[in-house]
Each structure stands twice: as structure tokens, then as C-alpha cells.
Amino acid sequence: MFPEEVLEHVFSFLTSHTDRNSVSLVCKTWYEMERWCRKRVFIGNCYAVNPKVIIKRFPEVKGVELKGKPHFADFNLVPEGWGGFVWPWVVEFAKGYPWLEEIRLKRMVVSDECLEIVAKSFSKFRVLVLESCDGFSTDGLASIASHCRNLRVLDLRECEVEELSGHWLSHFPDSFTSLEVLNIACLGSEVSFSALERLVARSPKLKTLRLNRTVPLEKLSTLLQRAPQLIDFGTGSYSAEIRSDVYSSLKDAFSSCKNLKSLSGFWDVTPAYLPVVHSVCSQLTSLNLSYASTQSPELTKIRLVVLDCIEDTGLNTVSMTCKDLRELVVFPSEPFVGDAEVQLTEQGLVSVSQGCSKLQSVLYFCRQMSNSALISISKNRPNLTCFRLCIIEPTVPDYLTLEPLDVGFGSIVENCKQLTRLSMSGLLTDRVFEYIGTHAKNLDMLSIAFAGDSDLGLHHVLSGCDSLRKLEIRDCPFGDKALLANASKLEKMRSLWMSSCLVSFGACKLLGQKMPGLNVEVIDERENLNSLPEYAPVE
């Protein structure tokens, strides 16, 4: 047995939550040791545990990460007011963690009152990351700015903020110089540019600056000149009249940013201004052009996010030039149009899978797919870890053979043995789930829509996927049988979402009764659920 000091020292090298959780299961001594030295706690489902329990078990925590609403909330499938409120957590943290330094929230409802409590309760507060959160206004941000003397990170990722005034930025006092990350890209209205400029000028450690759309292109060089040390930069609006003075000052400003690794923003692009970034292209690892309908990025990067306007030809260029590409994201420019004008097909993805040997992660929206393309992709890139394919029209078959895409996705799970995340679309029968259950042993998260024929499909997944922790299903003919037969599996998972399937209210009640460790929730907007027959399907 090692003395405590040694154990503690060893544990200090463990940063992964899963490792720490495993360590605490070894024996009572290790459990005690580990809980006293855990500095960061991750709660993947805010309803899984009571905040008081966390505070009691981990008294020395400095950073908390919480997730609230289910993923499908992003696509409006979760009703308003469902939950994910961070308030009860913040209230407990204010009492139990006075030295709290970091809060990271995803898909949670955060009120201005919460932000005020955060601002006033934690004297050492340094990091606030809000991802896909809502419920607060610029007043809440003003509280943070006024009171968090040591703030290093203010990162608003795709939040919905009620924008009452652009002056919240001015609440950062003149003595405040510690800012390292500022991401306000999601704000729709103007922030005070002079306050922004002064803030940037007095933040020598600023590494990430992501502006919002209202910051005009003409003012970009002023900001960049004040922060040549930036590593991650998101422009504002990238459109302006073509003027040589603006062009050359932008070009100079970009070339003086020797550490720039990531570029994003590029709203409303005026293509003539794109070449100003060419001087930094070779050093970029991440480029997000998904707000710019530009068609030819001759840029080398590791992570590329674009619109389908890039077309197959653009992706072909990517496959030949971006040899270090690890992640490709292609969003649809017109998701609700039946026949798109852009020439983006399965071919683009196949090219990239052939040419980019380091490709690991794909999110691809397109309008047609074939089994043979999927098979090629799986054979080209067995190292894929994340494969998310969205064929825009639901239940569309292989466009060449008119067969379901079972074999194609089957090939993906069979060849890509390290696959941890999969999203499927197109015409799929129970057969694809048999392949998944048989082969996808490392799969952690699976998203299914408009697929399958019967409970057998769901049964294959729940009984076969040993590592499955997150399953989200919509509009599939899966009912009670597979769910109840695999109830014990559900306890090993973080969450299961099923909507517009064939699960009955009776089965939900039974599941809740038989498995008291599970949180079973029925969301159905009809009035008298209890008066429905037991076998009637719920939403």
C-alpha cells in the first residue's frame, strides 16, 4: 500500500473523468483519496444527481461542467420550459464552493440572476463557458464584467442572448487586464466598439477573440493590430466596398499575427477580401467558412467547416491539398429546398476519404448517397471515429440501386472499428441495426431517425452495443418490447431519447417502477395522459 502522499501525487496526473471515476471504485481508501483531490467534476446529465451530493463528495472542486437538455433540443424537439435550469446548482455552489474558478455549461437555462450570483459569489472566478445556453440577457453579462476581477475566459458558444444593450462590455473596469478568451460571435446586435477596442488593447494575454457579425470589416485591422498574439480569431462581417486602403491594412494586420491557428466568422463574404488571409493559411489548423458561400478554399487546415457551396469540385481540391485534414463539416446552404442548385453529392465525401488519410470525423449534409459510396468511404478510412451523415430527404434509398442503405452503414461500422459516434439517415431497415449491434462495439453515441421496421432493430442496438451511452431516436417504429427487454442496459447509459416512436405510456410507467435507478420522463403535450389506454403510444 502506498502512503497517501504518493497516491495523491499519482492521482494528480489523472485528468480524465472516466479514469477518476474508475479509480474511486477500487477500494474505500482510494475512493476517499480521490474525492478529496478531485478538482474538476463533470456531470453529463444535470438531473442525474443532486448538487448537494456532489458538493459533499467533492469538497475541493475548482471547476464544474454541466449538461442539461437532450441533444435533440437543438432541433426544436424539446418543448419550451422543459428544464435544464442551472439555478439550483449555482445556489448550492455559492454555499459549498466559495473558491470555484470555472463553470462550463451546455444546453442549460441560465438566468441573469444566476449570472449575478456567479459574479458575486466566487472571488477567484476565472472561466465561464456557456454553450447552447439561453435565458439570460446582456444585463447578466454586465454583472460578470463588473465583478469578476480575475476573469480569463468569457466564451458564449451559440447562445441565445436577450440583447438589451451593447454597453455591457464597458462594465469591465479599466484595471481589468486578465482576459484570454472572448467569444461573442453569437450576439446579434452591436457591442460598443470603442469599449471592445480598449478591452482588447489592455488584454495582453488575449488568445481567442471571436467577434460578432456587427463588427464591420473596416474596423478589423484596428483590432488585429492591438492583438497580434491571437491564436484563434473570428471575424465579424466580412463584407465591404472594395477599397485598396482597407485591403492593404487588413493584409498587413493578418500577416502580423504570427500565432494564428484558427479562423472563423466570415459573415457575408466579399470574395475579393479573402486573399488577405492567405499569408496565415499555411499555419492554420482550423478554418470555419460555414457562413461564407465561397467555393474554393485553397487553404491547408486540420478542421474545415464549410457550406455545400464548396461542391464536389471544391472537396476534390480539399482532398488533394489538405493532407492533414482531421475533421470535415459540410453544412447545407439551403436545407429546406428539395432540389438544390449546388453540385454536392456523395462524391465529394468519397474524394476526401480517399485523399485525406488523417480524416477522423465527418459531419456531412447531402442529398444523395449510395451503398457503394459508403463502402468505399469505410474502406478508405477505417480510422474514422465520428461519422454523421444527413441525407436531407428522410428515408431516401441508395440512389443507384434503390435499395436501403443498410449494407453501406453496415460497412462503416464493420470497417471503422474505433467508431464512437454515428448518425444515420436515408432508408434503413432492421438489418442495419443488426450490423450495428454486431460490430459497433466502441460506439458511444448513436442518432437514428425515420429508420427500422420493428422492435428488433432497437433490440439489436441495446443488446449488442457494449459501449453505448447515448441513444437518440425519432420517428422509428420501436415500441415497448425491446425497451423493456433491455431495461438493465439503460442503467449503464447516460441517456435515451425516443420521440414519435411507438412506446406506450404503460411501458414507461412499468419501466419507471421496475428500474428505480432510472429517471423516466414522458413529455406529451396532450392533456389527459392518464386517461389514455395503456397501450396508446406517447409522443
Partner: protein
């Protein structure tokens, strides 16, 4: 594994006495017709923006939450489309009675009718004068514009912001033409 074997070997936590009966009772309709919440919202809004006809596939019912594109991204793309229709800046054609060719002005550059009129006067070297609600313009010229409905309106009657959204092009007519029509 076919369905028969599955049933023989399954560990059921089913309701007592329940069999497959409910399967037969329940609506086994293909799930993509189960769109209680679908809406056909796309058709009208897009034709307002473009004013031209789009492909018929646009008007079909839209399933909630599909394709899985986040709303802020949808808004950005739609917002971008309307801007690109009129270019970055809001250029409209201006014709002047007697002038051999048309000009273009960027309406976004101006903040009010006064500024616009001044700009037009500079551009065409004419004197349009001041607007009066009762009598229009007391000068040789009358500035008019074609609105979204295709009607020719006198400049100045509606609030500036409303004018900006409805103005398609400008025409500086002679006052006598206006009176006659």
C-alpha cells in the same frame, strides 16, 4: 435472428397478460406520415423574399426538427439570401426624365429623405426642393419610386424605414407629369 426466435428467448418485463395484441391494434403506419406537427411554412416566406417562383418541391410540408440544422444557422442562411438579392448595400436604379442613361444609388448610405434628396440633387444637378404633405414638391421635379406592388409613389409619404423595405427603383419625373396622372 428472426422475430419468432426473439420472442421465444426474450426476458420480458411486459404487462401481465399482454401479448402482441396491442401491436395489431396500434396504428402501424409508416412513421414519416406521423407528422402531427408538420407545417408548410416555407412556401410563402421565400416567395416574399425573392418575388420569383421557386421549384414546386419547396411548398411541401416540413417535418419538425428535420433536417437537423440549428435555428441560428437557418436564420443566418435566410438572412444572407435577402441581402444577396439586393447586394451588399441596397442599390436601386434611378432614372431622370431627359437623362440619356440610368444611375444607381445605395439607399443604405442615407439616413433620411433629406439626405437622399440631397444626394439625388447632386447626382443629377437639379433642384427638387422640399417635400410637403399637401402639395408634394414645389419645384420643376417630383421624385417618385416604384414600390413592391409595382405602384409609383411620391417620395416622402411613408416613414423612411418603410420606404427602404418597399422601394424597388426611383424615378425623377417632371412635376407636370405627376399632376396629369
Amino acid at each position: 435472428m428472426d422475430l419468432i426466435n426473439f420472442e421465444a428467448t426474450e426476458l420480458r418485463l411486459g404487462l401481465p397478460g399482454s401479448t402482441d395484441e396491442w401491436d395489431k391494434k396500434s396504428t402501424a403506419s409508416p412513421v414519416n406520415t406521423n407528422n402531427k406537427r408538420s407545417s408548410s411554412e416555407m412556401g410563402s416566406s421565400v416567395s416574399d423574399e425573392t418575388g420569383s417562383s421557386r421549384s414546386p418541391s419547396l411548398a411541401k410540408a416540413q417535418v419538425v426538427g428535420w433536417p437537423p440544422v440549428r435555428s441560428y444557422r437557418k436564420n443566418i442562411i435566410q438572412g444572407k439570401k435577402s441581402e444577396s438579392e439586393s447586394g451588399s448595400g441596397m442599390y436601386v436604379k434611378v432614372s431622370m426624365v431627359g437623362a440619356p442613361y440610368l444611375r444607381k444609388v445605395d439607399l443604405k448610405v442615407y439616413k433620411s429623405y433629406d439626405e437622399l434628396l440631397k444626394g439625388l440633387q447632386d447626382m443629377f444637378k437639379c433642384n427638387i426642393g422640399l417635400y410637403s404633405e399637401k402639395e408634394g414638391y414645389k419645384s420643376e421635379f417630383a421624385p417618385t419610386y416604384e414600390d413592391k406592388d409595382g405602384d409609383w409613389m411620391l417620395l416622402g409619404d411613408v416613414p423612411w424605414d418603410m420606404f427602404l423595405t418597399s422601394c424597388r427603383r426611383l424615378r425623377i419625373m417632371k412635376s407636370c407629369e405627376v399632376i396629369e396622372s
